[in-house]
Each structure stands twice: as C-alpha cells, then as structure tokens.
C-alpha cells in the first residue's frame, strides 16, 4: 500500500464548519482531516465524499432540469479550471438529452483507488476504478478506469456541500482513454 507521512499541523487538521458544544465525554472526528499517513483508505474516503457531493449536484440538476447559480457554486467547490467547464458541459448535455441515461433519482458514482501515483498533503494523483451502476441506467457504463488528481481547497461549497476540503484538478482521462500527465508533478 502506498502511503506518505505528512506533518500533523495545517488547516486540514482543524475541525470543519461551525463549532458546537458537545456533551462531556463526547468526541467527534473529522474523517477528512489529513492523517499523518496518507494511504489508500484515506484517499478512498475523500473520493467517496467527493462522489457524494457530486451526487447531490447531479440530483439537483436532474430534478430541476437547470444549471442554477447554486449548482455552479457547488461545482466550483468540486472542480477547478477546465474540469469546472467540463462538468457544466456534461450537465448541459444531460439537460439536452433529457437525462435518459440517468437513474431518477441518481445515486452516487463510486470511486476506488487502484493505484496511487503521487501522494503529498498538497496533491494526490491516482488511478481509480469508477462504478456508475447507481447513477446510470446504461449497463455499458458499469465500470471504467480513470485518473483523478485532487488538491486541498478552502471552498466547502453551498452549505458545506463539499466537506472534504479537497477539490478535483483532474478527473477523467486523456486522449484515447489513456493516463493523463501527472498534475501533481506539474504543480
């Protein structure tokens, strides 16, 4: 299992969202706080959080048949750069086609790391296996191999829609379905 030791300090160790007074003896943990050792389990947990946040956006767009400011704000907390454009374009395509290939309501896609390529507290790049069986009515879309890169973000989205404090800087594949250049190596 690939892993990396990182420092224990930094904003990702801080609790998320507004603080609340807890009864004595009650403890709470932030599942997305960057651990000392970044391993597959942690990356899978973050990706699951991101998948759920994207699932929420998908359910809104499928329900409303519209890309609203709320939707874009949520996507901005999930994607940056060209992938923000691509994600909006994907929903526009769905609106035009009537979401005929989506389950209604759609569930969350699921993502499992198959290979960690780059790991640091500032950037993670991984090969993943995606499962769309909860979102798609199309059996041909069951699983795919893709590549994702995430980096820390201060955006938590609309009403904390993305609690992971990580954001996609790459999500998909390159020409011909191949592995894209490592964005973490570029940064």
């Amino acid at each position: 299992m690939a892993s990396l030791f990182v420092g224990a300090c930094g904003r990702h160790d801080e609790p998320l969202g507004p603080t609340a007074t807890l009864p004595q003896g009650t403890t709470t943990t932030n599942p997305y706080a960057v651990p000392v050792v970044i391993d597959e389990a942690y990356v899978n947990r973050v990706l699951a959080g991101l998948d759920h946040a994207l699932g929420d956006v998908t359910r809104i767009v499928v329900s409303e048949r519209a890309i609203t400011q709320d939707v874009v704000d949520r996507l901005k907390a999930l994607y940056i750069g060209d992938y923000l454009k691509l994600s909006v374009a994907a929903f526009e395509q769905g609106i035009r086609s009537g979401f005929t290939t989506y389950r209604e309501p759609p569930g969350d896609r699921s993502t499992v790391v198959t290979r960690l390529i780059s790991i640091s507290s500032s950037c993670i790049f991984a090969e993943v296996r995606r499962d769309y069986s909860a979102t798609s009515v199309n059996p041909a879309a069951a699983t795919t191999i893709q590549w994702v890169a995430i980096q820390p973000s201060d955006l938590v989205g609309v009403a904390g829609s993305n609690p992971t404090r990580w954001v996609f800087i790459s999500d998909g594949f390159a020409e011909g379905g191949t592995e894209p250049p490592d964005p973490c190596a570029e940064s």
Partner: protein, 272 residues
C-alpha cells in the same frame, strides 16, 4: 470546442478520439465530454436556452434564432456570464415558423442566475471593407454547401456490435467568383460532423469523413433493439478572401438523416 461522446475510456471499450486533451465522464457514466487543446480556454459552445419567441431575418434569405449560452470568463471579473448567440439555417422548404428550434435542441430554463456578458463594441470597418464583407456574406448564403448523405451498411445494426456511419459528404470546399465589383472572391469552407444516433447519444465533432467497416472512425454501439432516427449535422465555417483582405463568415449547417434505422439483436439457437 466541447463535444459529447459516449462509450469511451472504459475497460474493453472503444476509444475513438482525436486531438483531444482532457476528457470527463458525466455522472451517467456514459457521456464523455472532451475539451480540445486548441480551444482552451473555451466557451461552452452549446445551445442551452431559447430567449426569444422570434426568428430574426437579418439578411435576405438567412434566418437566425437566438439562444443563450454560458460564457466562462466572459464576465467583467472573468467570471461566468450569459451571452446570446444565433443559430442559422438555410431555408429549405420555406421560412421557419416563429419560435421554431433550429439546430441543437434548446432547453427552457437551463440558465438562471447569471448576469449578461458585457457587450464589446465592434471595431468600425471602412465602408469599402464593409461592402466587401457584405458581398461575401451574400455569396456565402447562395453557394451550394453540400449536405451529408449518411448511410450505415448494411442498412441495419446489431446490438453489441459497432455500427459504422458513412457520412458521404465533404469536409472542405473552395468557392470562387472571378467577376465581382471588388475583384476575385474566394471562400474556403470547412465542415465538421456531429451525429445524433437517435438513442440519446450525441457524438462529434468529426473532421474526417465517416467510412465503412473496418476503417471508419465514426462508430456507435447500440444497446437496445428498435428503430432510430440518425441525424448527421455538418457545421460549416468559412473564410472569405478578396486579395489580401479576409474575414470569417457565419456558420452554416447542413443535415442528413437516416430515418427509422433498424437495430436488431442476434440470438444463438441450439438445435438438437
């Protein structure tokens, strides 16, 4: 240009993309959206909402239907704003009716909550240049732009097998008119194909002709039996030249169809 694609990038699947840099799989797991490296940063060039129940006739013989689209980076602060574009069609059987949707399907209410993009005043052209451009525009409206004549051999498809679309058109054309008030006019046109396979899948653009099996690049795998209307739209962009002077011309679209295309299934039968 951002274009939708399907069934690419999966295990054992087919990947038929050219000149693409990054691709994103939509949450349905089936639609693939790719971004051309040549158009980064790009405007999302998609019809997303009609804005007027009206068809404009800006020039004789050419009618435009307005639509709205999201322009990334077009706002005053580099943010997202909404802009207006115009579809264009060449009249075939008469003028389109008021509010008729032209080109890609428009969707009501697809944009909300974004400010209009600031209008950039057009640079003033000299009267002579304007006349030359107007002449080129009129010429472009009149020249016969070829339409695709799509065909999928052998006249049907089988679920689970690739269907090879033959476009039977052309993707480049040069038109000339030697005798004009401004000297010889040349118009070079380039077409790109977009395919609506009739089952909810849209693919394109394709800059090359679709060819038959086994070399064709425009392919699709139908998943369900039925009959489908396959629509091949060719979007033409063009440049006019009067000597050293040149300018771009509005996009024209030509369309070819395969109506009621049958998709069948093959089942194995065991005989005792």
């Amino acid at each position: 240009m951002i274009g939708g694609r399907s069934a690419a990038g999966r295990e054992g699947g087919k990947v038929a993309m050219a000149s693409k840099q990054i691709c994103f799989v939509a949450p349905d797991g089936f639609t693939i959206i790719c971004l051309d490296e040549e158009t980064i940063p790009a405007v999302v060039d998609k019809v997303v909402a009609p804005v007027e129940e009206e068809v404009y006739s800006l020039t004789d013989g050419v009618r435009y239907v307005p639509y709205r689209y999201l322009d990334f980076g077009g706002g005053p602060d580099g943010g997202i704003c909404t802009a207006t574009g115009f579809t264009q069609e060449r009249p075939a059987t008469g003028p389109p009716s008021v509010g008729e949707r032209v080109g890609e399907a428009a969707v009501d209410g697809a944009i909300a909550g974004f400010d209009d993009c600031p209008v950039t005043p057009a640079a003033e052209a000299s009267p002579a240049a304007t006349e030359r451009q107007a002449y080129a525009i009129r010429y472009w409206q009149e020249v016969p732009v070829p339409s695709p004549q799509p065909h999928i051999a052998p006249g049907r498809a089988i679920t689970g097998l690739l269907a090879y679309l033959e476009t039977r058109g052309s993707t480049t054309n040069t038109y000339t008119e030697a005798d004009t008030p401004f000297g010889p006019l040349t118009v070079t046109a380039t077409g790109r194909y977009y395919v609506d396979w009739g089952d909810g899948t849209h693919t394109g653009p394709y800059s090359r002709e679709g060819q038959p099996w086994p070399d064709g690049q425009i392919t699709h795998e139908y998943l369900h039996i039925g009959t489908y209307d396959v629509v091949v739209t060719e979007r033409w962009t063009a440049t006019w030249y009067f000597g050293d002077e040149s300018g771009t011309l509005n996009e024209l679209r030509t369309v070819g169809r395969i109506e009621d295309f049958p998709v069948q299934q093959i089942q194995a039968v065991v005989l005792r």
